[in-house]
């Protein structure tokens, strides 16, 4: 048996478990853009000496986006569908010097794990939560998610999604987290900036990344190629650096406002809470 070796290297290879490549993602998937952007931001922090690679822990649940956590060449833990946040919370409490990052999709973190997301925000837990929102359950074939825009076809809402999507920016606003921003895979440089800011924060940092699933979102709504979906989706993105929270509701026709919705320093975080009580 011959063993193939990777001849070509990439500048961020050292942060990736290359023995696990290729990824399971479909061609045109947005997850690679999210992962690369996050790693560019991490690399910058490491080269500036603000972060050490042994300080990073990734926690993922189940779903395509959660796999980002598992391709990272840092400490990485996989757990049950939706349960990454409480597991990460315990790690942060016992190892406060660690930078704990949760990555998951809209189904994983806002659907089945929604209760954990809500309470982690309430506690202002010191976590960076990257919620990759592709509006769909991708791994299981394109079913409705709690963040599917109203009216959109999914395999479980064949007449169009009758429900309103969950707007996690408003949820974050209501619960008083330290940082909440919405980026998009169509705007990777802005996403780099968001991740870079989020990595510096204490308290709960929520980064929602609007992403594309060409296979079971795009094709199902009539975009036969990934590029078609990407171009159509990009037209719907409205970049505002500091949008007001009222602008955060989204709709497929009216579009999606991306930007940094919340960035504050005055909130006590979970680490402060438990430092003061013990």
């Amino acid at each position: 048996m011959s063993i193939e070796t990777y001849e070509e290297t990439h500048p961020i290879d050292r942060y990736v478990r290359v023995d696990k490549l290729p990824t399971l993602w479909c061609p045109g998937c947005g997850n690679g853009i999210v992962m690369h952007s996050l790693l560019r931001a991490i690399d910058k922090k490491i080269s500036l000496g603000k972060l050490h690679e042994d300080q990073l822990v990734f926690v993922g649940g189940i779903g395509c986006a959660s796999r980002i956590a598992m391709y990272m060449n840092f400490d990485s833990i996989r757990t049950a569908h939706g349960r990454a946040i409480p597991l990460a919370t315990a790690i942060k409490i016992l190892r406060p010097e660690m930078k704990v990052i949760v990555v998951g999709g809209d189904g994983d973190l806002a659907g089945i794990g929604g209760n954990h997301l809500l309470h982690a925000m309430r506690r202002n837990t010191d976590l960076l939560v990257v919620l990759v929102n592709n509006f769909i359950y991708g791994m299981t074939g394109g079913q409705q998610s709690p963040m599917t825009p109203q009216g959109i076809y999914t395999t479980t809402t064949p007449r169009g999604n009758p429900e309103k999507p969950l707007n996690i920016m408003k949820l974050a606003y209501a619960l008083g987290v330290s940082f909440a921003a919405r980026g998009s895979v169509t705007h990777p440089y802005f996403l780099d900036e968001i991740f870079s800011r989020a990595l510096d924060k204490r308290g709960f940092s929520l980064v929602e990344v609007l992403s594309i699933c060409p296979e079971v979102f795009g094709r199902h709504i009539g975009f036969r190629r990934a590029t078609e979906l990407f171009i159509e989706f990009k037209k719907r993105i409205i970049l505002k650096r500091k949008p007001s929270i009222e602008e955060s509701d989204y709709d497929w026709d009216r579009g999606f406002v991306i930007g940094i919705y919340i960035d504050r320093e005055d909130k006590e975080s979970l680490s402060d809470t438990y430092k003061n009580s013990s």
Binding site: D19, V57, S76, I77, A80, A88, T89, A90, L94
Partner: protein
């Protein structure tokens, strides 16, 4: 000097005290009767020792947090009752697959559904072992007195560390609030087992002969990788029959091959040189069974009590040996005869009878005697 401390504790507080003795660092839980005073007591005591007690939003989050805590190489536990354990089974399956040491105090109450939350029962004895998906064995201990609750909690932590497995400590509402004398030990006087830690390797390697692999900790630069999918010795997902067989048989064997260190059976002979009748019982029902055995002996029936303190895995060889001479065996429990089915399955050649007594309180020993005499 041996500094033994004797105190008067309830079954629940004995569990909490033993957890402090073995060096518990993290407790995550959600309030549920009749387990909450373990949580409340630890919330008072554990922070004084540098540990953390956190109330999570539900039992699903609690077990997930305990798993996370264990991977920082700290001892972690939770406590719950039937409805909460039902939510935790998802996480227990994750802990089995990822070989995460943790202890779950399972304080049974009357079921099913919300039953009578403040009253007792032993309805969940099968759920404790078989409740999670995946069908692999986990150790289940069942104390019947505060002293046993203390001792078996220490043992539960030791087994969880030594075998890298979740362990269930199955108590019930009667024992939860029953006070008794407990001899407590200093942590220096008892044997405390710790997991074998991985220190060098980048990946989490072990030979297939190594039943219990060493465990890496978060934050030590090992780039650890915890995989819930079927994985090989490098911890990489490999969806093949060969790897699945190797993994599942190792996870099975690491418990079954170590049954000797898990088993806790006590045979009380009450001065008899042979046991004609044997009552088999566990948990608070074993207290009733012990009174019934003594009374039966007074009436001239040579009766012994076999108290099962480790419910799972079942030590079939020892169980057969201990019951060899008995002409009749009675399994006494406060449910519809659940553990009876397990015993009957092992002691196929013996006359095994079911004494299933449903009682919201501890079983009345006279009711046991009545059932025994009716079956003679």
């Amino acid at each position: 000097m041996i500094s033994t401390k004797i105190d008067y504790l309830s079954g629940n507080i004995a569990i909490a005290e033993a957890a402090l003795t073995v060096g518990l660092r993290f407790f995550a839980g959600y309030p549920i009767t009749p387990s909450s005073d373990i949580f409340e007591y630890l919330a008072e005591k554990l922070p004084e020792r540098g540990g953390y007690v956190i109330q999570f939003e539900d039992e699903i989050a609690s077990i997930a947090a305990v798993i996370g805590a264990s991977w920082t190489c700290n001892k972690a536990m939770t406590a719950t009752s039937g409805p909460g354990f039902s939510l935790m089974v998802e996480g227990i399956s994750i802990a089995v697959m990822t070989e995460t040491p943790l202890v779950i105090g399972y304080i049974m109450r009357t079921g099913p559904a919300t039953g009578v939350p403040t009253k007792t029962g032993q309805y969940d004895v099968l759920q404790a072992e078989y409740g999670f998906h995946g069908g692999l064995p986990i150790p289940v201990f069942s104390p019947s007195s505060p002293q046993e609750a203390y001792d078996l909690t220490i043992k539960a932590f030791n087994i969880s560390e030594a075998l890298r497995t979740p362990v269930v400590l199955l108590s019930d509402a009667t024992l939860a609030g029953t006070y008794g004398k407990v001899v407590m030990r200093e942590s220096t006087e008892i044997e405390i087992l710790e997991r074998r830690k991985l220190s060098r390797d980048n990946h989490y390697m072990y030979s297939s002969k190594d039943l219990v692999p060493p465990m890496p900790c978060i934050g030590e630069g090992l780039k650890l990788y915890v995989e819930t999918l079927t994985h090989d010795e490098r911890n990489i997902y490999v969806p093949t029959t060969e790897v699945q067989r190797r993994l599942v048989s190792r996870l099975y064997r690491k418990i079954i091959d170590n049954i000797g260190m898990i088993t806790e059976y006590s045979l009380y002979k009450y001065g008899n040189n042979r046991c004609d009748l044997i009552l088999i019982s566990y948990g608070s029902s074993a207290l009733s069974a012990s009174v019934a055995s003594k009374l039966l002996n007074e009436r001239g029936y040579r009766t012994c009590l076999l108290k099962i303190k480790s419910l799972y895995p079942i030590n079939e060889i020892l169980l057969k040996n201990l019951t060899e001479e008995a002409s009749k065996i009675f399994v006494v429990e406060n449910n519809v005869g659940l553990y009876y089915r397990e015993i009957r399955g092992v002691l196929k050649d013996k006359d095994v009878r079911n004494i299933s007594i449903i009682d919201l309180h501890i079983i009345d020993p006279y009711e046991i005697i009545e059932e025994v005499l009716r079956n003679l």
